[in-house]
């Protein structure tokens, strides 16, 4: 953790070496993510509900999906560029330092501009909550907190596992992006609009459904039309634990098989 912060701080300072570029990307990101939600809002001008979910409810999904992905991306998102470091052999320099390779590589090219997504999603989530008039029982509050924590862990695990695969296959980043960014986009909409097989895939395959769909059903009091076991709504910590363990094992195997480059 300490090494992570140290390395992240260095990248922050390095990025400020190109000050103008830093502010331009920050501005660009803010505009793109603002437009992003506008699309959903416009959709609701034509229909009162989407797959049985109202606009504030979909906004809740949008906010939680964006926030958890955003937090994971901020923390370990750099791992999706790991393939390049593996190919040019510069992982070597990380491995000779007395700190965990995962911490150093996660902080690699740390970019504060990624806060943008978290910030924008938080705004949408706050708006959603203010419109939903939920009864905040301790149970709801707890599931809400668990949703944000476990959701971030699940997305973070996908980043780590994706990083690990880049030790074996150079283009693994594309697959990983389709799961993280693609998955997050999927989670912005209610599960009811998707094909059954697809939903099954994100429940039993890469368990993204546990990020927000399932806990959101409990928090928002939406009936489950998918026919999944009821306790799944509270199983996010279990899913997060499984993901993190799998990712950790994949990472260790990847480091062991690192080949470096011919001198």
């Amino acid at each position: 953790m300490r090494a992570y912060l140290l390395v992240a701080r260095m990248w922050l300072r390095a990025s400020l070496a190109y000050r103008t570029s830093f502010w331009l990307t920050a501005l660009g990101n803010a505009v793109t993510s603002a437009l992003d939600f506008a699309i959903i809002a416009i959709m609701f001008l034509h229909t009162p509900a989407l797959g049985g979910w109202t606009l504030p409810q979909v906004a809740f999904l949008y906010g939680t999906s964006g926030m958890t992905l955003g937090l994971a991306d901020l923390a370990v998102g750099s791992l999706d560029q790991l393939g390049q470091r593996v190919r040019d052999g510069s992982v070597d320099t990380v491995l000779v330092r007395p700190a965990a390779a995962l911490a150093q590589l996660s902080a690699d090219r740390f970019a504060l501009r990624r806060v943008g997504r978290v910030f924008q999603s938080t705004l949408v989530l706050l708006w959603a909550v203010s419109r939903l008039h939920l009864d905040w029982t301790p149970g709801r509050l707890l599931v809400m907190v668990l949703l944000l924590v476990c959701g971030s862990v699940i997305f973070g695990s996908v980043f780590v596992a994706g990083g690990a695969f880049q030790f074996f296959a150079a283009d693994a980043a594309e697959v990983q992006n389709s799961v993280t960014y693609g998955g997050a986009t999927m989670l912005q909409y209610p599960p009811t609009i998707y094909a059954r097989e697809l939903v099954r895939g994100v429940v039993y395959g890469v368990p993204l459904a546990f990020v927000n769909w399932l806990p959101a059903m409990y928090v928002l009091g939406v009936p489950d039309t998918l026919g999944l076991p009821g306790w799944f709504r509270f199983a996010s910590p279990l899913a997060a634990l499984l993901c993190a363990t799998a990712a950790g094992l994949a990472w260790r195997a990847a480091l062991r098989s690192y080949r470096s480059t011919g001198s």
Partner: protein
Amino acid sequence: MGIIEVEDVVRTFTVRRRTGRLKRERTEVRAVEGLTFGIEPGEMVGYIGPNGAGKSTTIKMLTGILVPSSGRLRVAGVDPQRDRTRLARRIGVVFGQRTTLWWDLPLRDSYELGRRIYRIEEARYRRNLDRCVELLELGPLLDVPVRQLSLGQRMRGDIAAALLHDPEVLYLDEPTIGLDVVSRNRVRAFLAEINAEQGTTVLLTTHDLTDIERLCSRVMVIDHGRVVYDGGIEGLHATGRSERTLVVDLAEPAGPIQVPGTRVVRIEGPRQWLSFPASQSAAPLVAAVAANHPLVDLSVREPAIEDVIARMYGDRGEVAAESPVVGVGD
């Protein structure tokens, strides 16, 4: 107990080669094959061999970057694979072809990060940094972003970065590659001083044999993943099929001189060049020549170390140069 112990270490790489449209052939390449050696604390050892011989692979296994396929490694009593981060505190590594410095930040910032990551006490850090700055003449460079440094300056910066935490073992992978004569000399002088004063064990790979001649009392030659020579630099001459040359100026031109155990390689008027095995003494030869031909002058030329080593790699050197570069990620 050696500070570095290598026992029967093997490292193989799987190389995939495209053989058809979709077909791929997998071949196993042995980069290092049954490598065994030991290094005592305070030694300064040159590690040489042709490209692809396994030098870098060895160093990467000794730092914990690469995991050996089999065999046993110990550095400062630590297993590099199991305790990579613990080992990292006790070793310093310089890759000639790769910098550990931060490209966009002043040199000083890279050292500051090192201080925190290695948890170096303030006083020790000051002392080590001051010494490196003085000996490597880094003073004016400390506040310059690394990307603006010349290759020689950056290399000196890298060497300093590897030494701030007082490592017991220093690995240098081609530390003088691409440097001009002045920078080379400065780096060599510094390494000699660190080794003498701190007792730092140094393992150095290089293609520049002058590095070895100036710095190392011991040389290990590796070829095809095996140590083919290990000993003093003088011993190289005896082991390799190297030859010395006796140059004689005769009173008057003559036909090729016939002396057993020698052969004439060149004749220019009264001057003749005779090759003979380096292990043989020159004195009886001179006597044999002088017995039949009046001599005006003579000299004995030692073989260039490059030639000695080139002979040692032998015919297999050419094969090695053509074999695929080992260890490239696909």
